[in-house]
């Protein structure tokens, strides 16, 4: 990307900054401190340049550190840290539903002769994944973490399914590069955008219903919610 005019270079840099800003905002919300979130982003960017080959596979399979290992590791960490077994099961079910929905829409509906995206192409697959992951994650547990796990593990399941498809078809060639596009891989984009989507949906819903639901919520949460000046001096943003 060197040697381009100022306009293009500025565009690339600003896009990167906005992307990193959004990623930080999303990661910040998932059992990570401000610095922890930043460390994850830096690790993803550096890890983008490292591909780990998976030995013993019939077709070349690689896992990119920045685009695969770190986001998937984070998803597993969130699963392990989930409060209850039920929550864990919901997140995993969300991932399965995401994989299925993405497969049905991206591979069964949007395929065929029409160019360049197959028939019924309305939304590019790249934007479809976070949408499905975010909606499913939200439905599965009204949780940002659920959205992240659904989106990232759902796409991992797609990649595993693709490897099995290559085997079943006896493909003469093929490659499964999990997270191969590094920090710009659909796995990372889907995870981050799904969290932001779940957050937007959650906030809008809460606003529409005139504040957070209080029935059946634990007392410490309610006490915290009642405080009018809690955010002051805190790291709410």
């Amino acid at each position: 990307m060197t040697g381009f005019p100022v306009g293009i270079t500025a565009l690339v840099i600003v896009t990167l900054l906005i992307f990193i800003g959004l990623a930080h905002r999303a990661l910040d919300r998932m059992r990570l401190s401000d610095r922890g979130a930043l460390a994850v982003i830096v690790a993803m960017i550096i890890g983008s340049f490292i591909d780990l080959p998976v030995p013993g596979a019939r077709y070349p399979v690689t896992v990119n550190v920045g685009g695969g290992l770190i986001p998937l590791g984070l998803a597993v960490y969130l699963l392990v840290k989930a409060g209850t077994a039920r929550e864990r099961a919901r997140a995993l079910a969300g991932a399965a539903v995401t994989a299925l929905a993405v497969y049905v829409v991206g591979s069964l509906i949007m395929r065929g002769l029409p160019e360049p995206g197959g028939r019924y192409e309305v939304l590019d697959a790249l934007w479809l994944y976070p949408l499905v992951g975010g909606v499913v994650g939200y439905l599965a547990g009204r949780s940002r973490r659920g959205a992240f796990v659904s989106a990232t593990l759902g796409l991992l399941a797609m990649d595993i399914g693709y490897y099995l498809w290559l085997l079943a078809r006896g493909a003469p060639a093929g490659r499964v590069a999990i997270g191969g596009a590094g920090a710009f891989d659909a796995i990372v984009l889907a995870g981050i955008l799904a969290v932001l989507l779940a957050e937007v949906v959650g906030e809008v819903r809460e606003r529409l219903q005139g504040g957070p639901a209080v029935r059946g919520r634990p007392e410490p949460l309610l006490r915290a919610l009642r405080k009018p000046d809690l955010g002051k001096g805190g790291d709410e943003e």
């Binding site: 896009t15 002769l113 309305v122 060639a173 590069a177 809008v204």
Partner: protein, 417 residues
């Protein structure tokens, strides 16, 4: 319940797909894992786009949506305003100023004689739909994993190499032929980007049924024309469009009309990765592959000049995209869009989550106080009392600070969940 809802959603999507396609294949596991999943031989529908006086503007084999745009080779600019069945109506938006300017410049421009030294940066080429083939030459429109499109790609590589360019050609297949193929090819595109390319080309063939639609005699050769596709679902679309306009204008000035048009379609096509990433449709499946090969070779002939490989542009001509001082109005437009959307989206979210203007303003002030307060310059200013930052943790008569802090920590913990 949530799982049920999710499954219902997936079911609805599947149902919509099958209901809209009247010919339903019998169910079998093959449908999921077999050959039927690779191409769709049932669909050969073509959408005809006409202007408001009924003249045909374009034909496309994809679903046309309101908002799709077309830039014809002569500079006419249309936007689709109505779609009914397979007929779409496009409104003429006038002649595109950029295209007219490029065309006038390039008309005066002789093909540069001086050959510049080969650049260190390559051009990347790959095929997202690696099964695409040409019926008259290959016997089928789809040959999984090794479509005739590879021969077209090889021809492009050959021509670019002949012109002194270094080419990174990635032959990874991304079958089956579906929209998820872009998910797989995104990784190939990024792999190519590691070589720091000047441009990325994803070479396809179209699915329009009529071979005459693309067939022309260009530079005394029977060729299939090309179409450049720019994805609209791409935050940096304007920059890619700028590149497409340059390429179409210059290519048509040396081999008129080798580029039929620029089509702005729904989709991203991995073009968010690079401002010089383009999707090329080389003819359609009913053209012969040889026609498509000759067509793409003529297009490739024009690529080096647009990328600035043939040396500096003469006075008066537009500078190549690799010139640091070249004008790229598309980039600034994209930049403005991106910033406006970010501010608008961020502002709307802030307002919704805060609940009122006043609280949104307070939050914003607090945010800048915290995030930027650490900067030495601002800290000094604050020390001097020039910058007011709200730091009060308590409101008179509402509990003690320790309790507040405890509650805040608790709330933050809950928020992270």
């Amino acid at each position: 319940m949530a799982l049920g809802l999710g499954l219902m959603l997936a079911g609805l999507l599947a149902w919509a797909a099958f209901v809209r396609n009247p010919v339903v294949p019998a169910w079998s596991w093959n449908f999921l894992f077999g050959r039927e999943g690779e191409g769709d031989h049932l669909v050969g529908r073509v959408y005809t786009i006409r202007d408001e006086s009924g003249q045909v503007v374009s034909q496309v084999s994809r679903r046309v949506t309101v908002g799709d745009e077309i830039f014809a080779a002569d500079g006419r600019h249309y936007r689709v305003v109505k779609v009914r069945g397979e007929e779409a109506v496009a409104r003429f938006l006038g002649m595109d100023e950029d295209l007219l300017a490029y065309r006038d410049f390039y008309r005066q421009l002789a093909i540069p004689a001086a050959k510049a030294p080969a650049p260190a940066q390559p051009v990347g080429i790959y095929h997202t739909h690696s099964d695409e083939s040409y019926v008259p030459s290959d016997g089928s429109e789809s040959i999984p994993f090794k479509g005739g499109i590879y021969r077209v790609g090889e021809r492009m590589v050959g021509k670019l190499t002949e012109k002194g360019l270094r080419v990174e050609y990635d032959r990874t297949p991304h079958d089956p032929h579906d929209d998820n193929a872009y998910y797989r090819s995104r990784r190939t595109a990024v792999r190519l980007m590691q070589a720091n390319p000047l441009a990325l080309f994803d070479v396809h063939r179209d699915g329009v049924v009529d071979p005459g639609y693309y067939r022309r005699i260009v530079s005394q050769q029977n060729v299939a024309q090309t179409r450049l596709v720019v994805g609209r679902e791409n935050p940096r679309m304007q920059a890619n469009l700028d590149f497409a306009k340059r390429l179409m204008s210059y290519a048509n000035s040396v081999h008129n009309p080798i580029v039929k048009e620029i089509f702005l379609a729904a989709g991203n096509y991995n073009q968010d990765l690079m401002p010089t990433a383009l999707l090329i449709e080389a003819g359609t499946h009913t053209n012969s592959r040889e026609e498509a090969e000759r067509g793409i070779a003529l297009l490739a002939d024009a690529v080096p000049a647009v990328l600035g490989i043939t040396g500096p542009a003469p006075p008066g001509a537009p500078k190549p995209i690799t010139d640091r001082t070249a004008k790229t109005p598309g980039s600034y437009k994209a930049l403005a869009w991106l910033l406006a959307l970010t501010l608008l989206g961020g502002g709307a979210f802030l307002l919704v989550s805060a609940g009122s203007w006043e609280r949104a303003r307070q939050r914003l002030g607090r945010f800048f106080g915290q995030e930027l307060g650490g900067l030495p310059v601002l800290r000094r200013l604050r020390m001097k009392g020039k910058l007011e930052v709200r730091e009060k943790a308590t409101v008179p008569g509402r509990g003690d600070p320790a309790e507040n802090r405890e509650a805040r920590e608790r709330l933050e913990e809950i928020r992270r969940d």
